[in-house]
Structures are given as C-alpha cells and as structure tokens.
C-alpha cells in the first residue's frame, strides 16, 4: 500500500478512556474501553494497553461483548457503524452501516438484533432502535431494518438498561421511569415529583437492573438510590430508598449473581450494598476522583470504576484495588502550558487538581503525578482550592518552576512560586524553594533562561502588578549559615516599565537578551546588567505572544498582537522586519531548529503554518487542522533525527509538533503531526493557504509598495521535481558503492509496483498540465516554492529521461532479485 505522501494529523493519545463504561472480558483478563476513535484493549493484571481496535472514523460510543461468542466484541461509533471485532488479535470481522448517528452503545445483542441508542436528527430526539443482523457472509453489511423500541429516551446511556434476561428494558428520562416488557409489548411509566419537601432532587441519573430478580435500581440527583419492585403493576408498584451519597449517584451496577449493588458518585467512594440487606454496606474510599461508571466482570471477580480524571480502577471483588489504568488527566482546563520535560521527554501539564502530570507520549501512558500543591484535595463542588497555573522547565530539565494560586471569594489572591530541583537519586523533583506571594497579582508569564552555557540559572516571572522579577539561585553561605541549607532561590531584580502590565516574557536562545512585553510595548533587557536595551512597539494593540528566533534566526523577535498582527522585529536594526495580519492563537518556536509554528484561528477551525522568520514563505501550512481554537501545543524533540528529504516535512525531522485539540465535547486528544512514512510517493497537491495567498499578494504588491515588511530581494528558487531530486540523491550515496544497498533500494521500490506506476503516470500528467499554467503560478504554489537549494536546475527533457530510467528499473530489478 502506498501511503499518502502528505503530512498527516494523527490522534496520538490522551483520549478519554472514561467516556463510556468499559467492558471486562469473560476470562477477566482484558478490559476493553472506548477511547476516541478506537477501542483499547488493556490487560487487567499489568495495566498495559495490549492493542487498539482501529477502524472507526468517528467517536466510539460504546463497547459490548457478543453474548454468543465470548471472544468477539461489538463497538459502535458516531460514524454510524457497528463493528464486530475479535478482540484477542484485533481483527475486524463485520461492519454494519446505519444511516443515522449511533449515539450510544450497544445495549443488548440477541441472536438476531442489536439494540442501539440513536439520535434521530429529523425528530430531534434519542431513540432506542433494534437493528436486525442480516445473515450474510459479507464483511460489510448494511442494515435496513431499524425498528424503534423506545422513543424519547434520555441521552445518557446509563439511564437505559436491560432487565432480567432481556425480558424488559428500563429507561429513565428526567423524573420518569419507563419499563417496557418485550413479550407483552407493554410499557409502564412511573413518575416522581420534581423535588420533595426536604429539597432533594428526584431526577434519575442512572439505572441498573437486578440480574435475577425483578428489581430496578435508580440513582438520583440527591444521592438517593431507589429500588423499584412490582413494576408490572400500574399502581401497586413499590420502591424502597437507600441513601448514603450526598450528591448525585452517577453509576449503579449489580453484581452478576445479584447479591450486591455497587454505587458510586462524586464522593469517589465505591459503595457496595448487600441486596436485601441494605443496611450492611462496604465502602472503598479514596479512589481519587469522582466515579463515572462502574462495571463488573461477567464472573463477578473484578469490578472496575471509571473516574472523571480519565482513570479506570480495577478492583477485586474483595474490595481491594488491584490495578489502575490512567489516561491523560484533563481537569476543567489546562492552565499550564504543554511542556516537554527535557529529561524524560515526557509531556508535562496540569492534570489532577494540584498536580503536574508527566505523560509519556510514545507509550500514551501517564508516568507519574508530581504533587505541587501538597494539600489534600476536598471532593466538593464549588470549593476554591489551590491550582497549578504555571510551570516551566529550564533547558537541562534540572529545575522546575511552578506557580499555584487560589482565589477565594472576597479574599486576596494566594500565590506560591515553587522551585523544584531534580534529584538524581530519586529521579524525581524535590522542592527546593517556596516563595509565597512572589507577586502582588496574578503571574502572567514565567520563563527560564535557556542558555546552556551559563553557570547561573535565571527565572523571570511577570505579573499583573506591573513588575517582572528575576529570580536567581543563590548559594550564599553568609545567608544560610548552617550547612544543611543548600542553595536556594531569591529575587535578583525587579523591573517595571511605565507602570504598564507585563504580559509575556521570553529569553533569547543564548540567554543574552530578555524580551518582556508591556501591553503594546516590547522591551528588550540585558539580563547581565539589567539595563533596558531597547523598546519595540507596534501599536495599537497589546502584544499577546513573544518568541525569539533560534539558531540562524536568533536575531529575530516575533510577536503577535491582539489586533491579529504577526510582527517580526530584527534586533540588529531594532526595526520591524515584516508583519502580516492574521489571527494567531498560538505561536511557538521549535527549540532545535529555526522553525516556528503558528496556529491561526479562522472561521471556527484552526490552520497551522510552519515558517522560518527569515523566510517569507511558510515551510508548511495546513488548513483546518482541527475545528475550534488550538491553545496548547508543543514541539517535542525526537529521540533520533529523521532523514527526511522532502522539504515540506523537513521541519519534522528534529522534533514533532503535538497539540491539544480544543476541549470540544467530543474528544480532546493530543494530536501529532507525522511526517509521511514513505518517501517514495510524493504528492504535492497541498492546498493553497491563506497564508500563501497573503504572502503571495505581498509579493505581487512588492513593486507597488516598496515599504512592505517583506524583504524584496528574495526570489523564488529554481523549480524542480522533488521526485527526481530524490532519485538523483539516493543513488548518489548508495548505488555505486554496494549491490547490497542496491537490493535494499529495489525492495523499497517493490512495495507496490502497479500503483506506483499509476502514480507516476498521474504526476507526469499533472506536470504536463502544470506546464500550461506556469504563468499563473499561484494555482500550484508548491511547485513554485519547492526547490532543492543545492540541486541544479533540470530541463523538462532531462526529467522525462530520468523517469524513463526509473520505469526501466522496475521491469528488470525484480527479476534480478528472484534469480
């Protein structure tokens, strides 16, 4: 299979594993849970993800074991398909297409029908439908027969459940409980009052059915659990009430034998009630965060609870935690930036309240949580507690600075700046210095001096109180008489500029310059002498982001302003080099290359541009990377450098760009840009971007407007096909030297013979097409922009010659190999 040659956006991980309730297999060895667009298979004993079941193109909305075959599992997704998998080896068995959106999971699968909850867009309601499974051998089956079982049901799948042996279905919506008996085709409806006199809210939040008896348990918003019996009577129904939870019951589950009822909620305590002996309860407290789902393995040996902090806890039936599967913790919002720990190369951001999480990107696994606040978190809504709002690493990863704050009503802001040193022995961060109230108001930005050669480490923090402060590690023995005190941090310099509020700060790559933006003014300071070197300003709006260029572009300082301007100042001339108008939501610099990435929000979706400050053209651009506004992204250095020759993907050679998709209701995931995995096929049909149009316009206007910020002397480089360039380059290294390498090369060519030829033909045709359009180069901008810096220009005739050579290779190399 030939891969598409484009740079792709790949969901890399961190997706919710607590979105729907997980499933434990019959042998209790695996746990399956819906996670973004795939189903993850975890081992219940080792907590490791064994494999993903990939294939859905939409959010997976539910997983259910096939009752007739214990090794198969159904999954359904928002893309309108229900898929049947063999979960042990991850083979897709059957796909079933529906016309409507499958909103929630498969509820029960009898031999002939799957019952699913769907969203009927036309009627604007959720409906429970039965889908007949046509008996056919095809892998792809289209389901035509949809029969509605219940309409007007709750969107919450926890509020619909099948009763004893699938004889009836209980569905709760708001204050009503409806029980539908399949055999009698009769439904009974029971209503509760909106709230009782004591202020309890009676809204049903979840439902569970006893597996043996006719007993329905409903959980309510006020924390009560009601056990309904005799519900096959209109009037003689009866219920009993259990009350332990103080806030809404979010999940209920009976054990397979029906001896126990498990309930959980916001309190993060798993409560085990004895059925018919409800005054006896067992508790499993301190599960970390609110319980969202509870499931029990079919043999009853394992319970598993999903938690609101993206965690699945596996609990043995003796009410003992045996394993914890932790995904990327997403609190209410990511307050800190996404960062990469320079040592562990793990992604760092705040997760659990008061903690920083270290998340391994390649393994998609949480490594550990660092307790920053070091205070007990109280599980109660509406309580203001300390939160980690800022964090920064220094270049070597030996220092970590964190800022935590708590804003209580009618109270002053409480701020703490903490500095953590990396301890080689324990391989973790140890608190070195706590500075309480480092500033009088909220800290807006914080950064370490990234100079690797300098002996002293410096931290700069800017605050809404109008000051920026430089903090330095002091090992003054006079100050700390006793030997056990190591060096600690203290304030070195307090700077201000005309009483304006500093918004962001940035050190240059060598640490010789510090740029601090004061609203619309950017000030450049020398950290060595703390003198104000220069001020740059681009009125009228405040500067939002500041970034120094790296390596060859270190003379440039880039900033974005609130009036959608991206400015590039040349620090040698202290003047504006260029500026362009675009609404950049996030600007970041790759620490290893000159490249900078700008996420640009336009019409509800985000575009990405990667560019070098020295060059006006973007290195890479992609429109509509994702919908919504990207606010958090990071360049993560690669373990080993890639040897990508394609220019548009070269920027990914040194590091990968990860970003956090906006926190839409669907799936906030970490997303990564992947370079094309195969370099053989090069398809350059990259869409025309507004960035390009913009710059292109600039270029066209050059003659008319010489004062344009873009440098005029740059010309488009001579054009040549990358394919040929590659063909030429690769043999130049390899072919003449050894025949072994030659066979390697041939093998790489052999991956798909026919398609390759077709591709070649196409590209040839395209090139022919483009010949006619050479004049209007805006139509195919990449051809104009692509060009090897070193390779000499080739004529069209030479090109064709080379291509013929390539085709010849195909015909005879395989024969050579087989002989």
């Amino acid at each position: 299979m030939v891969e598409h040659g484009d740079i792709r956006v790949v969901h890399r991980g961190g997706s919710k594993i607590n979105f729907r309730e997980p499933v434990i297999t019959h042998d209790s060895r695996y746990l399956l849970c819906a996670s973004g667009e795939c189903v993850k298979v975890f081992s219940t004993s080792t907590e490791e993800c064994i494999h993903d079941l990939r294939g859905h193109t939409g959010l997976v909305t539910g997983v259910l074991l096939k009752p007739s075959n214990h090794l198969q599992v159904y999954s359904c997704s928002a893309d309108g398909t229900v898929r049947l998998w063999d979960y042990t080896d991850g083979i897709l068995i059957k796909v079933q297409l529906d016309s409507c959106i499958v909103f929630a999971p498969v509820f029960a699968v009898s031999v002939i029908a799957v019952i699913i909850l769907v969203w009927k867009a036309g009627h604007n309601l959720f409906q429970l439908v039965a889908v007949d499974l046509p008996q056919s051998g095809d892998q792809l089956v289209e389901a035509r027969e949809l029969s509605a079982v219940l309409s007007d049901v709750s969107s919450n799948p926890a509020a619909i459940v099948f009763g004893r042996g699938g004889e009836y279905i209980a569905s709760a919506n708001g204050l009503h409980l409806e029980v539908y008996f399949f055999k009698k085709q009769k439904s009974y409806r029971f209503s509760l009052k909106e709230d009782n006199k004591k202020g309890g809210k009676n809204t049903v939040t979840c439902v569970a059915c006893h597996p043996k008896d006719d007993c329905i348990a409903t959980g309510h918003e006020d924390g009560k659990i009601r056990l309904w019996r005799n519900f096959n009577h209109k009037k003689e129904y009866t219920y009993s009430t259990l009350h332990w939870h103080h806030s809404a019951v979010s999940s209920l589950c009976f054990t397979p034998e029906g001896t126990n009822l498990l309930s959980g909620g916001m309190e993060s305590v798993l409560v085990q009630w004895r059925y018919n002996q409800e005054s006896e309860r067992d508790f499993l407290p301190r599960l970390g965060s609110a319980i969202t789902h509870i499931t029990v393995s079919p043999d009853g040996a394992l319970f598993c609870t999903s938690h609101s902090d993206n965690k699945i806890t596996i609990i043995q039936s003796c009410v003992k935690v045996s394993a914890v599967i932790q995904g990327l913790v997403k609190g209410e919002s990511v307050r800190t930036d996404m960062m990469v720990d320079p040592r562990s190369k793990s992604l760092v951001l705040n997760g659990k309240p008061g903690h920083l999480q270290f998340y391994s990107l390649p393994r998609d696994k949480l490594l550990y949580n660092l307790d920053i606040v070091q205070q007990e978190y109280i599980h109660e809504s509406g309580l203001e507690q300390f939160e980690v709002v800022k964090a920064a690493f220094d270049a070597s990863g030996s220092w970590l600075a964190t800022v935590e704050e708590r804003k209580q009503k009618d109270a002053e802001l409480e701020l703490n700046l903490k500095l953590w040193a990396f301890d080689e022995q324990t391989q973790s961060f140890v608190l070195n210095t706590t500075i309480s109230a480092p500033h009088e108001a909220r800290i807006t930005a914080m950064c370490f001096c990234h100079a690797t050669d300098s002996q002293t480490t410096m931290l700069v923090s800017t605050s809404k109180d109008g000051h920026f402060k430089a903090w330095q590690l002091v090992s003054d023995r006079a100050l700390y008489r006793k030997a056990e005190f190591g060096p600690s941090w203290s304030c070195d310099f307090v700077g201000a500029y005309h009483g304006l509020v500093p918004e962001c700060c940035c050190f240059s790559a060598d640490g010789s310059l510090l740029a601090v933006s004061f609203q619309e003014v950017v000030t450049v300071w020398s950290p060595a002498s703390w003198e104000l070197l220069t001020t740059l300003s681009q009125p009228p709006k405040a500067v939002r982001d500041l970034c120094f260029g790296r390596l060859s572009c270190s003379k440039y300082l880039l900033g974005t302003t609130a009036n959608n301007l991206l400015c590039c100042w040349n620090l040698l001339t202290c003047s504006l080099e260029w500026s362009t108008s675009m609404d950049i939501s996030l600007l970041l610099a790759d620490p290893l290359t000159e490249n900078m990435a700008a996420f640009c929000c336009q019409a509800g979706s985000t575009d990405l541009f990667v560019f070098k400050p020295s060059e006006p053209r973007p290195v890479f651009s992609q429109k509509a990377v994702c919908s919504g506004k990207v606010t958090r992204a990071v360049f993560a250095p690669r373990e080993e450098m890639l040897e990508s020759c394609e220019e548009s993907s070269q920027w990914l050679n040194h590091s990968q760009l990860y970003f956090l998709t906006p926190d839409l209701p669907v799936f906030p995931d970490i997303v990564i840009f992947l370079p094309p995995p195969f370099k053989l096929v090069i398809d350059d049909s990259v869409a025309m971007t507004p960035f390009y149009l913009l710059l292109g316009k600039h270029r066209q206007q050059e003659d008319a407007d010489p004062l344009s910020g873009l440098s005029a002397e740059r010309r488009p480089l001579p054009q040549c096909s990358v394919a040929i360039k590659e063909l030429l380059q690769t043999p130049a290294h390899v072919l003449p030297s050894t025949s072994f390498l030659c066979s390697m090369f041939v093998q790489s060519l052999l991956i798909s013979e026919t398609k390759h030829v077709e591709e070649e033909m196409e590209s040839e045709k395209e090139e022919e097409d483009s010949e006619g359009e050479m004049e209007s180069s805006t139509q195919r901008p990449e051809q104009a922009s692509l060009g090897g810096q070193a390779a000499p220009a080739l004529t069209k005739a030479q090109l064709r010659e080379l291509k013929r050579v390539k085709k010849l290779d195909h015909s005879w190399f395989p024969g050579l190999l087989h002989s």
Binding site: E167, D213, D214, R229, H233, E236, T238, Y239, S240
Partner: protein
C-alpha cells in the same frame, strides 16, 4: 364586615400526652387510641377521621395495650388489670385483675372467644370472653422472663409470644410451648443487654415477624422455627409492628420516628414465590413510634410526639384526592376552652386541673391589623385541682362568670365564683341524678345548667343562690344510647340543642321542657352546633365539612341551606382536614356566621353569593388589593382568615 377586637390568648399551655397504644377495628372502621395518661380516644375513620369519643384517663392507669373484640374494647396496663370500656357512657365498665404482675400485652383470637394477656411473671393467661364479663380460663406454660408481645395465629390454635431474647410458640389448646426461637442480641455494647421482642405478628402462612430492641425485623418460619430473614431497620428499637388485613404489607415503627414498610411481593414478575422485601420508609414523627395500625389504605402511626399520623399508601388510594393526603392530628376535636362572655373570663380544661383567667383589657382604638396597647394584662385567677384520681372529662363556666362546673367519670362538682374578691365555694348540695356528665352547658342567663347524661339525655338543673335544684331530664325520642358530645343553649333561653355521636341533633324547648324537633339525621357526625340569637336558625357543621342551617320555627332547612346544598361547597373547603370546632354569630350583622377550626377563622356572609367551583377560595388578600367596585364582584360568602395560630375556641 364588622370590626372585632381580637384577644390573643397565649397562656393556654395545653400539652397533649404521648400515644401509647392503638387498635384498629376494621369492621367498624374505628381506631382506639390510648394515651400515656390513660385517656382513650375513638376515631371514626369512616367519618373523616373525626374524634368521636374521649374516655378520660385516671391516675395510675397506664394503658399498655388495646384490643377490640367485635364492638367491645379491652385494655391492659402495667397496673396488672384488664379493663373493658363502656363506650356509651365513656367510662370503664369493669376491671379484672390478672394476678400476673404488670400486663404488657393483650390479644384476642380472631374468633373473639379468648383473650390472651402476657404478664411480667412469664405467664400467658387466657380469659374467656363472656357476654357481660371476661373469665379467667387457664395459664399457658409459664416461662422465665416477661411476655412482651403476643400474636394469635388466625386459626386460633397457636399463639406466638415475644419475650426477652426469644420468641415462644404455644399451642393454644394444650398450653404447651412448641417452639423456642432465639433472637440474636445486638452487636457491640448492647451485646450484654438482653434483647426485647417488642412486637410480634403471626401470619396465616405460619410466618412470624418480630421486631426487637436490637433494631431488627426478623421473619421466621413458624412451622420449623427457623429464621428466614433479618432486616436491620434501625440502630435502636423496633417498637411496633402492624400487618394489613390481606397480609401483603407490614409496617414497623422504630424509636427513630420512622415507619418502615415491608411488602410481600414476588421477586420475579409473574411468579408465585413471594418474599418480604423492605420497601418504603416514612418519617413523620420526631420521636418514638409506639403504636401502629395498618388500615386498608393507610398506615396510622402515633408515638411520643403525641401526633396521630395517617399516612395513605399511594398504591391503595386514588392520587390527588382527599384520601391521598397525609393527615396529622395533634389537637382534640372538641373544645377545651370555655368563655364567660359578659365577665371576660376564660376557663381552660386540663386533665388534672382547671384554670380561670381574666382577659386583658385595652382602651385603644386602632385600624384593622393594629395591635392595641394592653392596659391590663391577662391574669390567672384560679387554678382548681380536681379531686379523686379520675381526670376531668368536661367543664363549663357560666356566662356571667358566677358558676363553674366540671365533671369526671365518677363525680360532678359545681362551684360558685365571687369575681370581685376572687373566692370559690363548692356547692355542696347537688341533685342525686347529677353524678357525672359528658358535656356541660350553662344557660345564657346563668340560671340553668345542662348536663348530658347517659342515653343522650340532658339533665336540667336550676341554679339558685343557696342551692341548686333538679328540674327535668330531657330525653330524645330516638332512644339512642350514644353520649351527647355537643350542647348549645340559645341566647334567648328558649332552645337547647344537643348532638350525639349517632349524628342526631335534637332541639328542646326549654319553656315547655320537652323535645321540640329533631333535625334530619345526616350521615356525618356534627362537630359544632349553634342557634342564631335572632332568627332561631340552628347551624350545624359536620365532620365532612358540610354546613346546614335549620329553621327551628319552620322545622325545616332554610333557603340558604338548600341553596348551599344544591350548589355544593367549594372543593377547597371540603379538602380541609380539621373539623370546625365552634360556630358563632356576629351580633352586629345577623347574616354573618363565624366558624373556626384549629387553623383558620371563617366568616360566612349569607348575603353574598356562594363561591363558584372555579373562583379562588382563599381570596381575602387579593380582595384587599383590588379597588372597591371589583372587590364586590370577586367577593363571595366565605371569608377566611388564617392569621391566627391554632384557634381553639
């Protein structure tokens, strides 16, 4: 409308006493209720839960258990006696000593032939119920430890007894104990304390349900004597159990004030194997639930917080009807306050004493709603302690304030009051016929005293300065044996109206001292009667909230009463759950009838149109905000004021 001066009387600190025991007679739909002071109350559940009869208590009589045998009511108490009550004369009929120490429980078999009592000394004594008396028959095997609770098997052959730490099953024929069921003690500190089986129920399928002091409700198999199921209901005691007639539902009252319902339902739909499952919990009491009764449609509970709560079971009654509303009955349905209008005196009746107060005075004039400055504070003139051990059953104060009378079940006392120098002298010479009275009433000119006696008769006594003289006994023609509970002498001294619990209202002509007429008998018991001072119309309000006006001159219902019956009363009026306890008339405006119950005052203006079914009923506040012309359109005959807390008189 008229202006009234309102005296806020806040010095009547009447304290109802705790409810001890309860027995429900499902055939007559009467609930008998025993209070801690020994008083018995009979509620008629068929007639809007009206408190029909009150038998006053007696010092030293603590009723521990009640039992209906047909129409007869028996009680037993810790004084070791079994008492049968005379419900027509509202007094104990006879008392039988059981000679077994304090009696904890009493229970009759379903045939109504035998009465079993459980005694402190560990014996279950059987009494034969004879026509007029009960007679000791035999003892069952004597056990160690007291018998706390008893329950007959419906067949009458077996009896289950709850004891300390155990339950015994006796054969009622032989008197032998056939089973001994050990009840587990509580855990922890209560392990060393013996567990008390407070209550026990023997069901027809030989299931025994027990409630004990360890907070457990246990279900036993009575045939094999094995424990089927234990439900821990409370941390403290389960004090009472009651089962419905069809044995499908059972309630348990706890000392936490909760009532827990258990239901006998099949665990799977459509199958026959049923089991007892704990279902609902009712919390209507603040203190211990000592007594419970399970009627067809409701759970009736009472306890230390003195309230009688009727909690309807919503699966048995129609929703949103009068029957489905929760009822709490705290205050008695009869008047305990007597007012001497001319002298400005108030008489308060307590079980063991009477209090005479003089109302405060004020000379101020103010706008409606103003509180006037008090010139003289109300003062307590006399506190009169009763003699003997019987509690006061009725009392009266003459309108002039010169006479005071009270009666217990055994004695009658009349006092002469000197108001100015506050002296009280007992009138020693009383007519022989005047032994005791159910209800007392003075004539408006204070010259006569009316005392209701047995068989609905009224004794008329003339009050003269040195002594009082028996004049006549007024007897109804119906020959009813029920006691008179309401007496009203008209202002002009011509008429005397009586109402008895047979729902009869008789009007006597006092000039001729003979029966004038009988108001047509209505199905519901009258709760208040009054005769209009000028028009001589009798207004009667019944327990089902119906109002009748009867013209004594024409001996027929008045036009207004017919109109009211034709149109029907407003549904909100009918939904009120407390009976009207008093009827009065506005002296300034003869068209005004003043009614009150324990929650509100109502002035009925007979000149205004009756409220339509759709018009807002409680509209006094909205009327006040309307301009004058519109006010007339919206106003109707019922003007209701809820400003006062607990009007008792």
């Amino acid at each position: 409308m008229g202006e009234f001066k309102v005296h806020r009387v806040r010095f009547f600190d009447y304290m109802p006493t705790a409810i001890r025991a309860m027995a429900f007679n499902s055939r007559t739909e009467r609930l008998a209720l025993a209070r801690a002071d020994g008083a018995l109350e009979i509620f008629n559940f068929a007639d809007n839960y009206f408190q029909e009869k009150v038998i006053p208590g007696q010092d030293g009589r603590a009723v521990e258990a009640l039992c209906w045998v047909g129409q007869r009511l028996f009680s037993a108490g810790l004084n070791g006696e079994i008492t049968e009550y005379d419900l027509e004369n509202l007094r104990p009929r006879y008392t039988v000593e059981a000679y077994g120490g304090p009696i904890w429980t009493i229970s009759s078999n379903s045939q109504g032939t035998l009465l079993a009592v459980g005694c402190e000394d560990g014996t279950v004594k059987m009494f034969e119920i004879l026509e007029e008396r009960i007679q000791f028959q035999r003892n069952l095997d004597r056990q160690k430890g007291r018998i706390i609770s008893l329950s007959w098997h419906p067949s009458g052959t077996l009896i289950a007894a709850g004891m300390m730490d155990m339950i015994r099953i006796f054969d009622a024929e032989t008197g032998r104990a056939t089973h001994r069921l050990l009840v587990e003690r509580g855990v922890g500190a209560s392990k060393s304390k013996e567990v008390v089986v407070w209550s026990i129920v023997f069901l027809s399928d030989h299931t025994i349900v027990s409630g004990d002091s360890a907070g457990k409700v246990q279900i036993w198999d009575g045939v094999t004597g094995t424990l089927v199921r234990t439900q821990l209901v409370t941390k403290w005691d389960v004090l009472a159990l009651s089962v419905s007639n069809d044995e499908s539902s059972l309630v348990a009252g706890t000392s936490e004030g909760t009532v827990v319902q258990f239901q006998f339902i099949s665990s799977t739909v459509g199958q026959q194997d049923k089991e007892w499952v704990r279902t609902r919990t009712f919390k209507n009491h603040s203190h211990d639930v000592r007594a419970l009764a399970h009627t067809e449609t409701a759970v009736v509970s009472g306890g230390m917080d003195t309230q009688l709560v009727v909690r309807p079971l919503l699966d048995k009654v129609e929703k949103n009807t009068q029957e489905s509303a929760l009822r709490k009955m705290t205050l008695p349905h009869r008047s305990l306050v007597c007012c001497a209008k001319k002298a400005g005196l108030l008489l308060f009746q307590f079980p063991d004493h009477l209090e005479l107060w003089r109302l405060g005075e004020s000379d101020g004039h103010g706008k409606p709603g103003d509180s006037l400055p008090v010139k003289r504070k109300p003062e307590k003139l006399i506190q009169l302690k009763r003699k003997g051990e019987d509690h006061i059953c009725c009392s009266a104060l003459s309108p002039c304030g010169g006479w005071l009378a009270y009666s217990t079940v055994t004695s009658f006392r009349l006092y002469r009051l000197q108001n100015n120098n506050i002296s009280i002298t007992k009138v020693s010479k009383l007519p022989k016929d005047l032994r005791s009275a159910h209800q007392l009433c003075f004539s408006p000119d204070s010259s006569k005293l009316f005392a209701s006696s047995s068989h609905s008769s009224v004794i008329v006594v003339a009050l003269n300065q040195p002594e009082c003289k028996y004049l006549h006994t007024l007897k109804p023609k119906s020959g009813s044996r029920q006691p008179v509970h309401l007496l009203f002498a008209s202002e002009d001294g011509k008429w005397l109206a009586t109402a008895n619990t047979d729902c009869e209202i008789h009007v006597y002509n006092l000039d001729k001292l003979k029966l004038h007429c009988t108001v047509p008998v209505y199905s519901s018991c009258p709760t208040a009667i009054a005769i209009h001072p000028t028009t001589s119309n009798l207004v009667a309000v019944h327990a089902d909230q119906q109002i009748f006006e009867f013209s004594l001159v024409q001996k027929e219902y008045t036009e207004w009463s017919r109109k009211l019956q034709k149109q029907g009363l407003h549904s909100l009026w009918l939904e009120r759950d407390t009976p009207i306890t008093h009827v009065a008339f506005n002296p300034q405006n003869p068209a005004h009838i003043i009614l009150h119950d324990t929650f509100m005052f109502c002035i009925i203006d007979q000149s205004l149109p009756l409220p339509e079914a759709k018009t807002p009923f409680y509209n006094q506040m909205t009327l006040r905000s309307l301009p004058e012309p519109q006010r007339i359109i919206h106003s109707h005959a019922f003007k209701i004021c809820k400003n006062f807390q607990v009007p008792l008189y």
